[in-house]
């Protein structure tokens, strides 16, 4: 097996924003995607998107490193301030990454969605585009029982 960068982050300018998602506290119907979402307090909530070999720990607005006013120490208690970012153990690959559109930093996400094996950060309309960022970390092989 060739070594690969284990976590992919995909920027999609598309119609994903119109995909139906599940409000917190709502039980999904059978034909609804197994997604749950929130638009509350994103700058104070963490998330994890993980595969067997790589994972990301981030803030739900996509900032990766929280505002100093909210938390001078960053994400992490056991290893103070150092547990966020993109990890491919034993390497911490990235402490932070950011996306720019025409040299302008993209705004913070305003909606966060958890799905089956992925997360999606939805950004406010920017430069005439609807922008969302889907993150997942593929597993090295599929071993699901049939």
């Amino acid at each position: 097996m060739k070594p690969r960068l284990g976590i992919w982050t995909v920027l999609i300018a598309a119609s994903l924003l119109s995909a139906p998602t599940i409000r917190a506290g709502h039980i999904p119907l059978k034909n609804e995607p197994l997604e749950r979402q929130t638009d509350q307090d994103l700058n104070m909530k963490r998330y994890v998107a993980a595969g067997d070999r790589a994972y990301i720990v981030d803030v739900q607005n996509g900032s990766l490193v929280p505002d100093v006013s909210l938390n001078p120490d960053g994400i992490g208690w056991h290893i103070k301030g150092q547990m966020g970012g993109v990890w491919v153990h034993p390497i911490k690959l990235l402490h932070q990454f950011r996306f720019f559109l025409n040299d302008n930093l993209l705004p913070a996400a305003t909606k966060f969605v958890s799905g089956e094996g992925y997360v999606r950060l939805e950004l406010p309309p920017t430069g005439g585009l609807e922008i969302s960022e889907t993150q997942f970390a593929p597993d090295p092989r599929v071993t699901r029982p049939q």
Binding site: P66, L70, W77, G84
Partner: protein
Amino acid sequence: MKASALTDKFRQDWWSPSHGLFADSLALSQMVLTDPPATVGTLPRYTQLQQLNWIDVAPMETSFASVPDASMVFPQLESSTFTGPTGFFQQGQSLPAIQGDLEASAVNTGAMAIAEANYGRMDQSLRYVEFIADELDIEQPGALPELFPSPGYKYFSGGNPFGGAMVMQAWSSYGIHWPLVELYLGIKPDAPAKTLAIVPELPGSWRELSIDDLRVGSDKIAVSVRRARMRYITTVWAPAGWSLIIGYTFPANTQVKSVRLNRSPAAFQIVNTNRGEEIHVQTNSGGTQEVQIQTAGGRDSDE
């Protein structure tokens, strides 16, 4: 013999009649200077400590406690000493002696959900299951956290919102999966022996519960339990090759009027356990097996 001797010894060491609780730890009554095993070996008895730690639930979580002892303990564990508005505390509070941390957390709330169901206290069990389910979206939607918002642990309000408890904690689903599969649906497999017991018990407010595609050994099974008035129907789909026990769990002294297997009258056993009276019907797997039990009275007034 050995098991009952150990149980008696455990109760002698740990049961505290003055509290109506099991001690949460045992202490030595003297300083140990150089040789702990030698010192311990000479003590006639340990000193019981009661610090209202959540481990008080362990003798019921393991179904180790007798029914009379458990029935003294549970009302205390359910009270505001140990249980807050969002879950079971890591350490309860009894002022002025014990301040407690008043932090409700997932895994010990799950231990209570399982403990209650082990003694047939299904409505109380469901209260703890729902405490856990209610926190599914507290931080990352769909990911159960380690700690719940509670008097001793605040979310999103100053302090250090990113340096606290886990955002996502695998063991937090213990109090959902385990009670629902092993106790509400009552599925207890012994895959190497190819035996499978399915003896459900539902909370009073639930009429049905089912599970599909459950892997047991190398097979997949499905189980459904339904309750209507005084009829209790347990249905099992399993491939051939398993010895099955199918039934339902009732409070002690329930009057069973009829027991049918696949619509024909069936022989059955009444087995007394900490849960109550379990009705067991023996059969073999292959296709669908359905046990229907009719009682003279339900466990609640839902008729």
